[in-house]
Amino acid sequence: MFTVDGERVVDVKIRLGYVHRGGEKAFEARTYTQGLYLVERICGICAMAHQLCYVNNVEALMGVEIPRRADYIRTIIAELERIHSHLLWVGVAGHEIGWDTLFMYAWRDREVVLDLMELITGNRVLHASNTIGGVRRDLTSEMISRIRKGMKLLDERTNYYKAMVPKERTLMKRAVGVGILKPKDAVALCAVGPTLRASGIKRDVRRDDPYSAYDETPFDVITYDGCDVASRVLVRVDEILESIKILDYALEHLPSGPVAVRLPRGVPAGENVSVVEAPRGEDIHYLKSNGTDKPERYKVRAPTLANWPAVGAMIKGGFVADIPIVIAAIDPCMSCTDRMTFTDIRAAKSWQWSRDELRRYSLKWRGK
């Protein structure tokens, strides 16, 4: 909710919950194997990240070592998903400012990754590739060559986007200098993921607290210090290139051996916290088990929730007109048709706008 003084946004209060499905209560009613598929549906685009976090949690509690090959396959699928998520976002950002061609191209290139996903895991988006104790399907050499071919094509396409985006004046006119998030605010408000890295702070769970095969794969964390929407676009495009590098390395050094370990059904009592770098940022899950085959408490904090206070900081002090573009820039991963209530402190009246009405107002204001 925004408190506005004429055109300047004075205060922002976050009000969520329009896609609240009571997931955490549902976990307590499901066994661990069923929980596998529930955790994946928290967010359609970063399904693998959530499932990886869940599986790390349960395996840590069971104190089981999964085969090294499974670690590598998980890293490969996680990076493929990061590429698909970032490409999706580049397309949506293009559509957001009325450039449908970028949307069509980005989503056409994304098909390459989706076909690879269907080949490896059997499903384009909700892969259900993990199971407790490893991975459900092995990577055959034919799959590996198909991935390499796909990566070469994607590498060339992403380099094209990287070269084209800064030169595209109409895109830059809408993105440079919009939605500023200063580094000190980003840290204080605990922002995560590309939004944080676009403000120049080098934090990435894959490097700080490595899981699966990230401890062995060399990659560098991308940061830009533009602190605006434009640098968030560039961070994501660079991260696609980085993911391709990780994939090449992982495919190169894929160890042989089994892909899963048979495990008993029950999980010993205990508690554990696992953190994973989802495409949109750091994703943390807390699991408390009581020895039965159902978790006692399962807390999920998706990366987008951490970025909402940062959105508030970006918009506060800015203009009402920039709200729609800034919100789209953190790549919110939930239905973002949230209602926004405005209270104009001077006129002391408040009115409710849906996102589209807000956008229309923003364009109208810009017209003055």
Partner: protein
């Protein structure tokens, strides 16, 4: 395990700082520390961890209903160490000091714990619902163990005044 001396160091520092109000501390594995403190020592332990050990980033706040009281975990992350600081409050009237002045990012997490578990965070700038709708019936805290899903449904039906199928 000798190699996680940095974790040892933090636990030692916490012991000297808090003395007996540090109820328990253990290093579960490299880069993971669990520590339980009494609610009164919560504020200065968070401040201490932030300033002297760089644990600035609050990932989230998790609450767990233990039956008699509610355990509230503060997951602080700095560099590669993840510190899970736990403070318990009695379920009869759960109260905890807010850490929003120190970590502004905690505002949303505290609101979520408040509406799901009923933990009052004193001094919180604006402790209102974050996720649940406005018409949510008073002191129905859905994530508490005693609230089963159909009990919640009847409460909502009562509040809304018509039968939910």
């Amino acid at each position: 395990m000798s190699e996680n001396k940095k974790e040892q160091e933090i636990v030692e520092a916490l012991k000297t700082k808090l003395g007996q109000s540090l109820l328990a501390a253990r290093i579960q594995r490299p880069r993971r520390i669990f520590a339980t403190v009494s609610p009164s020592a919560l504020l200065d332990s968070v401040k201490f961890l932030m300033e002297s050990h760089g644990l600035r980033h609050l990932a989230t706040i998790t609450a767990v209903d233990l039956g008699k009281d509610i355990a509230v975990y503060y997951h602080l992350i700095g560099g590669e160490i993840t510190m899970n600081l736990r403070a318990d409050t009695p379920k009869t009237e759960p109260k905890l000091p807010t850490i929003v002045p120190m970590i502004p990012g905690a505002e949303l997490y505290e609101r979520e714990v408040y509406e799901m578990f009923g933990v009052i965070f004193e001094g919180h700038p604006d402790l209102t619902h974050l996720i649940l709708p406005d018409g949510w019936p008073e002191n129905v805290y859905p994530m508490r163990k005693e609230w089963k899903t159909d009990a919640i449904k009847n409460e909502i039906a009562k509040a809304l005044g018509e039968k939910l199928e």
